[in-house]
Assembly symmetry: C4
């Protein structure tokens, strides 16, 4: 059975992603709103993700030839219509009954890549069915955690391979959840009908017997926290390229390259894990320099404008991911809303390119961000 998302009308007055956010506040209950919008602790990183993009100036260039320009990029051997992907977001049925399938249909229609969360609320196969038939689609990737139950993890990876996913995105920045105050204050819990269906059957690790001087965190929860060795293990059990998501420190990026990953995603988990972690726009150029072109570097976190996308590309990103905005679109109008969000973002990207004299994204270099470029 294929889930076909409903056709919905777009509410009026949506001129930007921020408008979608405001509108979505009306369509999401407090529980879902706290889950999707909250960040860790005082939400300093959440806010700085936004403000760091805003603080980067774009220096316009004029009278450059623009006819025939385009937004196409190369990524892992494929040509994409544009560099915008959907970031993995868990439990999208909290936002809309059509959940991840609606997101996937819209993304495929708009040429955007999809990174499905391992905590999706719909079967990974259904999302693949929604995406793969579309000839204009972007890449289809599957996000995984290294679960303590390694047998289950292996089986999950095999399901993803079988369903047609093209890469694995290993999230490495969340060995433990952050201090999610907003969720805790709201008493967040999954409502009936929303569950991490792809994790059904996974075994929780046996709770270790803790001595009096042992830590519930370090000796318990983190006993199975993944290390670089586990990256090697994941690579060894799959034929898919593995990207690392959640890298901010250039030294970790260098180690990732040495470990043979296919790409690095600069991310602070949308400001949801370690508060006061640096903004991704701050970390990106450092990671790009550390990686030195060996593998693609992607980035997420606070990207809400076409100008943000262009700035990320100027700083050396190969592509960007957006998370919450797609949820807002989903909440506002299902697949139609997601498509609208992606359309606006891409349109804004084209406008930003035109106004900075970039016919293609190869023109997006650090010179866009400073006045002292030679010519």
């Amino acid at each position: 059975m294929t889930h076909v998302p409903a056709r919905q009308q777009l509410p009026p007055g949506l001129a930007s992603l921020a408008d979608h956010e405001q509108q979505a506040r009306q369509h999401l209950d407090d529980n879902a709103w706290a889950y999707f919008s909250g960040g860790a602790a005082d939400e300093i990183s959440l806010r700085s993700n936004r403000s760091a993009w805003d603080a980067l100036p774009l220096w316009p260039r004029v009278l450059r030839p623009l006819a025939g320009g385009h937004t196409r990029v190369e990524l892992l051997g494929r040509t994409l219509a544009h560099p915008i992907l959907l970031a993995p977001v868990a439990f999208q049925r909290l936002a809309h009954a059509d959940g991840e399938v609606a997101m996937a249909y819209a993304a495929a229609a708009l040429g955007a890549g999809v990174v499905l969360s391992t905590q999706a609320s719909m079967p990974l196969e259904a999302i693949a069915q929604a995406v793969l038939p579309d000839p204009g689609r972007g890449p289809l990737w599957f996000q995984v955690y290294l679960q303590p139950d390694r047998g289950f993890t292996r089986a999950l990876v095999q399901r993803a391979e079988a369903a047609g996913y093209e890469a694995l995105v290993l999230t490495v920045d969340a060995p433990t959840s952050g201090a999610r105050d907003r969720e805790r204050r709201a008493g967040f819990r999954l409502p009936p009908g929303t569950a991490p269906v792809n994790l059904a059957g996974m075994q929780a690790p046996p709770a270790p017997a803790l001595g009096a001087d042992q830590s519930a965190m370090f000796d318990g929860l983190l006993h199975h926290a993944p290390t670089w060795d586990d990256v090697a293990w994941l690579q060894s059990i799959t034929r898919l390229p593995v990207l690392l998501k959640g890298v901010l420190h250039p030294a970790d990026a260098r180690q990732a390259v040495a470990a043979g990953v296919a790409g690095v995603i600069v991310s602070n988990h949308g400001g949801r894990t370690l508060d006061t972690a640096p903004a991704t726009a701050t970390a990106l150029p450092r990671v790009v320099q550390a990686v030195g072109g060996a593998v693609p570097v992607l980035v997420d976190g606070g990207i809400r404008r076409g100008t943000d996308v262009l700035k990320a590309m100027a700083l050396g990103a190969s592509a960007v991911l957006v998370g919450r905005p797609a949820v807002w679109g989903l909440a506002n109008a299902g697949a139609t809303g997601v498509a609208h969000v992606l359309r606006m973002l891409r349109d804004e990207l084209e406008i930003a390119m035109a106004l900075t004299g970039c016919a293609t994204l190869a023109d997006a270099t650090p010179a866009l961000l400073a006045a002292d470029s030679p010519d």
Copy 2:
């Protein structure tokens, strides 16, 4: 028939241009307010245009001889009473029935130059008739875009020459409109009776047939976007000097000089095109340095105080342009309001000169902005 603007009383309590803005909010409907006041996207550049002037300190100087001082400047071979011009603003009949003609009368009476927008809502000849008879008037320039219909553009330029305009101002920073969220949210549209009357009869270019992998922006809208070659074409069809408006990057300024333009106007289109473009006060000294005195450099964007005018001159501008403030004056009291705005700005400029020890604007050098000047 000559349109003579009505004599109006000035509302009470207007002690600054900001007071005019607040007052104008009452006189403009939501549609017109969104059009005139809005900027691109999150309006970061719109705000930074203002804050950048505010952030520049002026170091007072004392006990210098001031008697016989004046605000006169030389510009393109003419002596102006002061360095303030009116920037091109479209559709001024949205603000007042007397529209651009009222603006022109007031400007001429106050010795301010006029740059008429190609999207004026009144015939360019009427504005020329309002300005040219006044012996104390400032320069009269006509602003143009390089429209895809080049025959129409040529005819329009010939009309401007015939009407007595003294220079052409080619706007180069808007090959496409910015993301004007405020206008879109307000559902902005031109009301009956307001139209770009000087563009009547212009041919829209045929829509190119786009392939599936072509961009509506780059292969459609921007197919006819002007390049440096088109600047040469414009110069070849007119005997008027051509200034370039919308230059922020020093490299573009250098290229403009090489192209033989008569002047460069540092502008980010009032924050209406590319959001997060640098403030004009930030770009100005870089452009001045790049131009190296070869041609005059003008600036607009956020100039609301006589101190702002003085700072622009100190940074090397030959003159400044103000846009929105004149619209506020127009909305508040027609020609009287525009004259009041210009009078206040010039009075404030004289006060600022006196308090910084500048008898003439030749004394306005970068030393005004720093304490480490030698003398």
Copy 3:
């Protein structure tokens, strides 16, 4: 006849100068409030005067010997109980019927110096009678402008000498008023009973006949603006030391020293003349360095805390002046209120000295403001 100020009760709840300000808002009508509290234009300098003191850190020192410490300073050959003087403020009868006389009584009782404004609303002789008999009083100075009517200026100086004033403070930062928007909006005017009584009989200069291309400002108002030559003239007609008030630029300070002035007062006229002039805390160390110890440097502008006084001394000031706070005290409780303001400021100064290990103000050096002092 000697005016003896009434004894008033202090309203409750006044724990700081800011409390006095808030309270004074209740005791002053809109007219007087606009006059006393307003600054020039957008009041950027008015605010930065405050924020610049706040931004300077004070590094505490511990366990230093403090017994027997004191706040005494030497100034122009006299020993003062503390370094706080009252700045010249015009028209104090706007705040209280006892006006400048109340201010003077309170200052003398608290050992604070008095700089009487040439625009005082009570006779300069009455203020001298209030101050001079008090053995604990601080210095008594008279503030002058170089009025176009030089004969009147000479006579006024002679009156001040005869009345016992000990120095002249020549204000040089106001050849013209600033753009006082707040006053203009409030339609400020002097009410009956408040007038610049010491200027009675002064001749306005004849209005020069202005040609069409002459400036009402530069050829009219500023025709008689004082220059360095006029400073020499003032020095030549008086036996009193002459201090210059309103110097911010180090080059002007150097010239003042060369002109033989007795002291320099770093001031931006309380943010009332040139908006965006630098904060006095920003200018002070530059002026101190330029003067190089040749003459005392004083400072006013935004001093509201004992820590501000200590910071000024640490930056090299010989004394400080406060203007508006005394007016608030006057409005709240006449002479009692002024005394309370001065008492709190001095008490706070002693606390700040104790907590930074300064037994005397000779210990207030730039090392207080930085952690890298040697020991």
Copy 4:
């Protein structure tokens, strides 16, 4: 008689220390709130204590081995379960009838050290009885001022030794109270039933007869202010190690080491003494560098998050102290509330360690705060 604190229920919705603060505002009357929450003067240092921690970025590290990690630290020869101590806070019975005893029970149960204030509102012996029997307890220290009555001070120290206190914390940053405007405005006074019971019987020094030119502050209040000589005296009368609390300047820290103190506590008295004193997060690394590892450096002031604790450790602190948060917990739910505050802070510390790749606090180095660490 042993005071056993009541068992209380925790109010719902407390997900952070900031939630405790908000809740406590409901449980404390205006008098107690002004006392506990206020800072000196304009509370600039109070706020900057917080914002300085927030402004330090933490750079996450990924995929590092975390199993078996822990929060243990060594301090003055003991191994502590974690580096969080309770700072000395006076008059805790203002917050809850169980006062300092409840605080002590909770701290001992959570392994947190206790620094009892000399101004505690319950007998120092009762607090020792609450702490000492707990095998998992942290250190138990007693805070003292050098009171003018030295005989009393000696007796008090002997009582503390006899009761089992393990170190003395000499507060040196408050030779006089700061300008506590908030307390003064609230008319703060101790209610019946709350008193500095451990200071009963202390003799006030005789008021010196002050001459007319003497200062009530320097010649009166500060006549007995302690100096470095008094530190030597205190060390001479006790067998306990003496730590100095209230050091910000590196030069004072060096002198403290030379004086043979057992440790230095970087503190600005919670922003309650000298306003505009630097934030403790600003002073800490300078003090750490000055001390050069000779003795432990502790820090308090604005620590509200586990990330703040980790940052302090990264900057070189050996442990941290929290004051107001424990009072909030106490006000909200007595001993239960204090325990909850400590539990949350430690849990957050473990999360922050996990997300920055720190298995132990030995991994908390300055490299956590910058991206340019070598590896």
